[in-house]
Every structure is written in C-alpha cells, then in structure tokens.
C-alpha cells in the first residue's frame, strides 16, 4: 500500500502543479479579456472548479505528508509511547472518514440505481428523486456530476494515503517529506 501511496503522491504532485498553474492562467486570461472588452463568460466558473480540484488533490496530499493543521497541545504533552498510540488512533479516524466519504459518494452517485434506470438520467431522477445527473454547470457547459467526481476520487486517494500512514505507524517508518517532494 505504501508503494501505491508513493506512486499516487507523485501523480498528485504533477496534477496539483498543473491545476495551480491553470488557476493562475485562467484568472490572468480573465483580466486580459475583461480589460480589452472581450470578457469570456466561462472563465470565472472554470477557474473556481480548477481551484476546487486543486484543493482536494492537495487535501489528499497533506494527509500523507502530515502537513495539515491540527491542535498539538495534547500530543506534545505525551510521552513517546502514548504519542504513537494517539497518532495511530488519529490515522484510524482519518481512514474511517475516507471510507465514509467513499460510501457517501456511492449513495450520492447511486450507480446501481442508475443502472436499474438503464443509464437514463431522466428516468433515474424520476424514480429516485436524485437529481445529481441533471444538474448543469452555469457557464462551463458540462454536467456538474463530472466536476463533483473529485469527491469520490478524494475518498479513494485519502483511503490509500491513510492506510499507508497507518502502516508507517506500525513499522515506525518515516513517511514522505514535503521538501523532498517539492524538490523532486
């Protein structure tokens, strides 16, 4: 699992760099087109979605890199053994959230219900009152459920990374370091 997590982290790094660059370019495009009176109406929304994808990719990475903000008042006050046990519990809680997110995405996207409706979005909405597949984006011109896909993806990547974190705790191995990843 740690090998998968390491490979995933490298992919996430590239994706995060690309998305961050894309956000900047989109906003600049907006500035330029707006000031020349040729405003592109879809740029704002595209930039927001790009940023959101970047945020959730980064959210997955920060779990593996242990870079997220937490209150370390109690862990700092504990001895080494107690600190390790506590760290294990925390990782376990993050893993359980990741698995829950996969399940929540499953009941939201409801692939089984969709299959039963013969992959007909209208029939699916009619029978389940779940309108996920009918929600449009305002200006970008693609269905919103494609953009929401980052949520189940986040569930999956978080699961991989938090299992790798747990494996690190059990073996006492040091996880990947942010500066190494930045420099790679």
């Amino acid at each position: 699992m740690r090998a998968i997590s390491a490979a995933l982290l490298r992919v996430e790094r590239v994706v995060l760099i690309a998305l961050t660059l894309a956000v900047t370019v989109l906003i600049l495009l907006n500035v330029v087109t707006r000031s020349t009176g040729m405003a592109l109406f879809w740029v704002d929304e595209a930039a927001i979605y790009t940023m959101i994808w970047a945020v959730f990719v980064g959210a997955s990475m920060q779990v593996r890199l242990r870079a997220a903000i937490s209150v370390d008042l109690v862990p700092m006050a504990l001895g080494d053994t107690a600190k390790r046990v506590l760290g294990f519990v925390v990782d376990l809680l993050v893993l359980s959230f990741a698995l829950t997110l996969i399940w929540l995405s499953f009941i939201w996207y409801d692939p089984i219900g969709l299959a039963q409706a013969g992959f007909d979005f209208g029939a699916f909405a009619g029978s389940t009152f779940n309108f996920i597949y009918d929600e449009p984006t305002v200006t970008v011109g693609i269905p919103k459920f494609l953009i929401w896909l980052i949520m189940p993806i986040l569930g999956l990547t978080l699961t991989v990374h938090s299992i790798a974190n747990l494996a690190d705790r059990l073996t006492g191995a040091a996880g990947p370091v942010l500066e190494d990843l930045v420099a790679s």
Partner: protein, 420 residues
C-alpha cells in the same frame, strides 16, 4: 454531546478539517437527519465554490515568487536608505520592511520565517541582543493580518459574505496605526536602552539601493492600488501581482530560475489547499451551527452578561486571544466567525468590517504568547533564542498591539472611515 465529540477530536490532534467534517457526520447520525448524508459530499464541495477564495492561491504564489526572487534583501537595503545613522536604525528597518512585506505575503507564519532569516542575523551583527532582534521580527509579523492583502481578510470576507476589497480598504488605517504604534514603541525602547547605531551609506550606495528597491514596491502598489481604485477585484490584482513578481524575479533581478517553477507551484498549491480544505469542511460544520442554533444560544447568554457593544468586543478580544493560543489563526477564524459574527451584527449592531479587523488581529496576537503560541516556536526554531527571552523582549509590542485593539474596539470609525 456533539460539542464533546468536537472537543475530543480536536484535542486528540486530528487535523482540523477532519475534526469539522467528522463532527458534522457525527451530528447527522446522532440527530437522525440521515437525509443529509446524500448531500454530504456536495455540501463539502459547495463550501468553496467562491470567487473570493481564488485570491488565496494567487497571493501565496506572489509570496513564493517574491521569496525566491530575492525581494527581501532589496527591500532591506531600500529601507536603509531612509534610516541611515539613527539609533536603532536596523530595528526600524526591520519593522518598515515587515510592513511592506506584509502587503505581499499575507501569511504571518511565512512572513515570520522569511524575515527571521533575513533580519535576525543582520541585527545581531550590528550588536543587537538576539532576543530583541527576534522579538522585533515577531512583532513585525503581527502586521500581516491587517495590512492588505491579508489572507485572513480573504477568508473572513468569504465567511461573512462581504466584499473582500472593502475589507482590504478597511484594514489600511488600523494597519498603519499598528505600524506607527510599533515604531513608537521602538523609539521608546531606543531612548531607554542604548540601541546600536545604523551604518550610514554613501550617496552612491543609496542610489543603487533605491534603484534596486523601487521595482519591488510595484507589487504592493499593484495589489492595494488596484483594489482601492476599484478597478480590480482582489483575485484579479493578486493574479497581476503574481505576474509582476515573476517578471521581477525572472527578468529584472534574474534570481528566479524557470526550473524552480514547479516547486514554487507545488508549494503554493499545497499551502492553499491546507487552508481552503478547512473552509470546505467548515461548510459541513455549518449544518451543526445552524440546526443547533449555536449563535442564538450563545447570544442569549451574552445578552444576560452585557448589552453594550464595547463590553461585547472586550469579551470577544479576550476570548479570541485565548483561542488563538491553541488553534492556528486561519482555522480559528473559520471556526469562530460563523458563530460570533451573527451575534455581533444582530445583537450589538457592530459593523462586519470592525469586527473582522479586531478578530483577525486577535487571532494573530494569540500566536505569540506562551505556553502554546505557534509563532513563538517558529521564531525559536528559526533563531535558537529561548521562548522566554523572546517573550520578555516582545512584551512592549504586545502591549502596543493591545492598545491598538482597544482603540479599534472603542472607535469603530477608524475601520470604516475609508470605505465609500
């Protein structure tokens, strides 16, 4: 019960975003509102569907580019042109550069790290006690939450649903007040204790420093000017500033290397996601706050205590410094604003701008005092000075900050004067 779950998760050391999302999940199941489960992931997503939040990665990118591009040392020599042979000259320069950098970096922790590296060794060489050098630098970083473009203001604006540009403008007078208060504190210390003299520069050195430093001033000018003039949104001016920073670094100073760009973008993306992910999770936590009517319950208790806006603000000041000591500024802001802002506006008639300024200064102030002040430990790690020694040297600046906070609490006009 839900409150207990929240506190336990927080104290265990669970990352704050997961504390918020986990508590919301616990609440949904506990209160048997399982219908909400289907929209859980969507709620998390929609919490950050906000144009204003785009400013955060862009400001962070500007800060990273400026760091790598050698901005700080040019600002230091630029500022020294104006100080010359003054008692405590380098200490003033430290504060002035901090004020300028604050308008670029927008993050107290990053600013503290950069400035500690740039200024503390230089001050030590000129003969300042190291704890005093560290304390001056730490005090300077207190300016970052209030001088535009403050990251805390961007998030506050999104949470409070008010224009971030107006918030930036509102921060100008309080920010200058803070800077002036710190300079006055330095002057006072300088007369009481013998601070080292600044070294004087030749005319030629001054001209070179001016020529090198002037272009860097373009960045704060682009950011603040664009917003104040109303021609650009904070997000747009952040994007323009990042281009300006890249141009300076790549073309003018030639200290940036294209091969460093992926690393810069990576750090930007990750740091931005650390902040914005908490905002996303806080949107879930918002369910708990709204359904459980937390603000209403707290308001009822507060109104039994006082009906004076000033008393309310004083209570808030005290409470926030305590919260800021335990929880990082941005995370604390995301937690607190949805609860306290409705009370401030509805029950005490306080303008959201005044409230925002006070909250943001408080949360950064809380980073400095012991026993847990995160900023204090950043400083200790950067300089090797013991926390106790920094705190003693820092005390006059903390007192100055508290005085400014009191002023802002008593005179709301100071914050709102520049807003049209």
């Amino acid at each position: 019960m839900v409150g207990a779950a929240f506190v336990v998760l927080l104290l265990l050391g669970v990352p704050i975003a997961f504390v918020l999302a986990g508590t919301a999940l616990f609440y949904i199941v506990w209160s048997d509102q399982t219908l909400l489960l289907q929209s859980f992931a969507q709620q998390m997503f929609s919490g950050i569907e906000s144009y204003g939040l785009l400013a955060i990665p862009l400001f962070m990118l500007t800060g990273e580019l400026m760091n790598e591009g050698g901005i700080t040392k040019r600002l230091v020599s630029f500022a020294s042109v104006f100080m010359g042979r003054t008692r405590g000259g380098l200490a003033y320069i430290n504060l002035i550069v901090n004020t300028l950098v604050a308008s670029i970096m927008g993050s107290a922790a990053a600013q503290m790290a950069v400035m500690a590296r740039a200024m503390v060794p230089a001050m030590e060489r000129e003969g300042y006690p190291k704890p005093f050098a560290a304390a001056t630098t730490a005090a300077g970083s207190l300016l970052s939450p209030i001088i535009p473009p403050s990251m805390l203001f961007v998030i506050y604006g999104v949470l409070a649903q008010i224009a971030i540009g107006d918030l930036f403008i509102a921060g100008i007078v309080p920010g200058l007040m803070m800077a002036a208060a710190f300079l006055a504190t330095l002057a006072l210390i300088g007369t009481l204790r013998e601070l080292p003299m600044g070294s004087s520069l030749s005319l030629r050195e001054r001209l070179i420093a001016l020529r090198n430093g002037l272009p860097t001033l373009m960045i704060p000018f682009v950011i603040v000017g664009g917003i104040v003039a109303g021609v650009a949104t904070p997000t747009e001016s952040a994007a323009v500033a990042s281009v300006a920073a890249a141009l300076l670094g790549f073309a003018v100073y030639r200290e940036l290397d294209w091969r460093r760009l992926p690393a810069i973008l990576m750090r930007t993306g990750l740091n931005a996601s650390i902040v914005i992910f908490i905002v996303a999770a806080a949107n879930l936590f918002g369910w708990v706050i709204v359904y459980e009517q937390v603000p209403q319950a707290l308001a009822a208790q507060l109104s039994a205590l006082t009906d004076s806006p000033l008393m309310f603000l004083l209570i808030v000041n005290l409470a926030l410094i305590l919260v800021g000591m335990v929880i990082d500024g941005i995370a604390a802001l995301i937690l607190i604003v949805p609860i306290l802002l409705p009370i401030a506006i509805n029950q005490y008639g306080i303008a959201p701008y005044q409230f925002g300024g006070i909250v943001c200064i408080n949360l950064v102030l809380g980073r400095l005092p012991p026993p847990v002040g995160a900023g204090l430990f950043v400083m200790t790690a950067m300089t090797g000075v013991r926390p106790g020694a920094i705190v003693r040297a820092l005390a006059p600046f903390l007192i100055a900050t508290v005085l400014v906070l009191l002023c802002l609490s008593v005179f709301p006009g100071l914050v709102t004067v520049l807003i049209r």
